[in-house]
Symmetry: none
Subunit: 206 residues, 4 copies
DNA sequence: GATGAATGAGTCTTCATTCAT
DNA sequence: AATGAATGAAGACTCATTCAT
């Protein structure tokens, strides 16, 4: 009467997903230090011991989440590498970001998890990777901006600086979302791009 | 014979300053929960026990820093209450902020500490106070923006939203400063105000 | 597979008993402040952490013991409230006390714990309750003695004073039991009641 | 302008006395563990450091008090060795004890300090001495009782047991004094000796 | 002799991790 | 695979003790 191999694997996979979901929510809301493994197991509806069959340590569980973030950012980078023209690309990027942040506090927390992790000093290897990939993203954005400036689509100015301002803004918004909670004001794409994109006739924003 | 009262007070003051500086940096970087008293004492170059001669608990030490931040913000609020015209006020405010962030990590740490306490919930009571005072600051800025819009000095748009963007930007910048370290690019006042202040003839910025 | 619920409960119960026994002896001998949780865990033969699965704090552990003593005393009070005649009641009470003290150190420890908590001020709230209930017991005994005096069964004299002497004696005996250990001399009921009960013809004691 | 040797010695002696007085009161009221050296120094009106010029450690300070108790008990033993007749000796002893306990809580505490110290397990050498001397006192009392019985002054019965009851009573009374505080009832010599001394005609006590 | 700032060992408590079942 | 009892290392905090002055 033993379970078949596939059954076991399916169960295992379901458990893993439950753990990750619980951990993501808890780490994001309460932070790494204030989240206990017991919290995670309770939220996931399993025993504490079972977590250790899926992850060797709390840190590894955390790193798994970071890795997921890295994958997201890598996709972003891939997207930036496609041959769309800079202005449309930035617009579409910004819309994605705004939609994400506004849709749930969880995603806002996720942004902060990311931004927080590149400030931390004693970091794990995955956090180091995240830091690296973020720097790459930053650089890609600079390049994109330069390209857009050459095309006359984007405003002039030091591209690195504009990139810096861009990420400052997205990060600041994620943090303000959590601060203002209900009082947070819905943003539009142009709110974030006004300092970056040249206005076209017919869609003035001033 | 014995140390004079003044000697003792001087020693005490120096120690207290060392503790505060160490704690500020650590709390800002690692957050409350991940910062240990031993971390603080090591960074400050003193024993753990000595910290407790100056602060009754880890929480009181943390609250002391938060309170210092509150005082700074209160001064900012007072400044916003003076009768300067909105545009000049914002310009001077921004210059102050940029200069602060760029001049020392200490001040960037303060910004980070403030933005962190938006996120880390339920840590101490002083954090609630900090949130409250920040909301007031936010409101004052909205009012100022409205006033500036009536005077035609500032760009149109929902005042709350512009205030939100303004603080998002300053906060994001502080955190980018600590992330990029040497790679941080010096900012000018206009970088932060371009979305807010109407350009005047003769000092175009594009 | 997994331990059954009953298995777990049995294990849990055994552990709890081990902790209580160890703690009782240590608190009685060394007092609250000088007894460390490590002492208790070593004596109980378990780890320190495990104690906290059963008691939230050192104080709660202590209070549990005090509460057990309170329950015993309440039963004593209930007994004093029954309608037996004073002389028989006191005799049976004394026999119970002597048997208890002589039978096991555990019970002597309880007496010691109680008498200790008269002295150690400001330790826990349960101690206040213990004091209160002891005062009630003291009062009940006074009343009983008065009643016995009216019946001519008990010796004359201030009832409160006789009550005081009675409890002084029982308490002193418990502590002497622990002091003298093997050298402790077996007592008889009359040893404790000679100052209280009128001799009857035929059973003189001198 | 240095102080003369005698002056220094006198000051030193005064300081030592202040420390002992403070320590006795604090140890007696709060117990060894709950009394801090800072408590002692504050009560004595001196600095903490100065205590260590007079006593090498907290334990040594405590032992000094125990030693003082030992001296008192030795005097008691000497008294018991004199050639007074048992009955008068016991009466005078009891009067002394009652007067002491009733005069101040401090002395009651002192009795308990003594009785407590012979229960403790991990004791200092002085506490061991105290225990020994107490056993001697106990034995002397037994002898005295036997002698009194031979003279027909004291009631019959196992002398050791009567001695045990005697000390149980004194110790219990000290503890009740602290428990009942204001409600404590003044005792007379006969209250403690009724079980021990044969009544004489003309001074019946029943 | 005298002070009190400074130290660090030791205590209570939490929680990541292990392990018998 | 799954449970949760059990472990013990680590953190906040206290306080006896030392030491510069």
């Amino acid at each position: 009467m033993v379970r078949s191999k596939e059954q076991n694997e399916r169960m295992s996979h379901v458990t893993r997903e439950k753990i990750i979901e619980a951990a993501l929510s808890l780490f994001a809301y309460k932070g790494y230090a204030l989240t206990t493994i017991k919290d995670v197991s309770k939220t996931a509806g399993i025993s504490t011991g079972l977590i250790y069959r899926h992850f060797h340590s709390k840190e590894e569980l955390f790193d798994t989440l970071i890795e997921m973030a890295i994958i997201e950012i890598k996709e972003l980078i891939n997207f930036l590498d496609t041959d769309i023209n800079p202005k449309d690309m930035i617009n579409s990027l910004v819309e994605k970001i705004i939609a994400g942040i506004e849709s749930s506090e969880l995603i806002a927390h996720y942004y902060l998890l990311v931004s927080r992790s590149f400030i931390d000093n004693d970091v794990t290897k995955q956090q180091e990777n995240l830091k690296t990939i973020n720097l790459i993203l930053f650089q890609k954005m600079s390049n994109l901006i330069e390209k857009g400036q050459q095309l006359g689509e984007l405003k002039e100015g030091n591209a690195d600086k504009l990139s810096l301002l861009f990420f400052s803004l997205t990060q600041g918004i994620a943090s303000m979302k959590l601060f203002l909670e209900d009082k947070f004001i819905a943003l539009e794409s142009q709110d974030l791009t006004v300092f970056l994109i040249n206005e076209e006739k017919g869609e003035e924003y001033v």
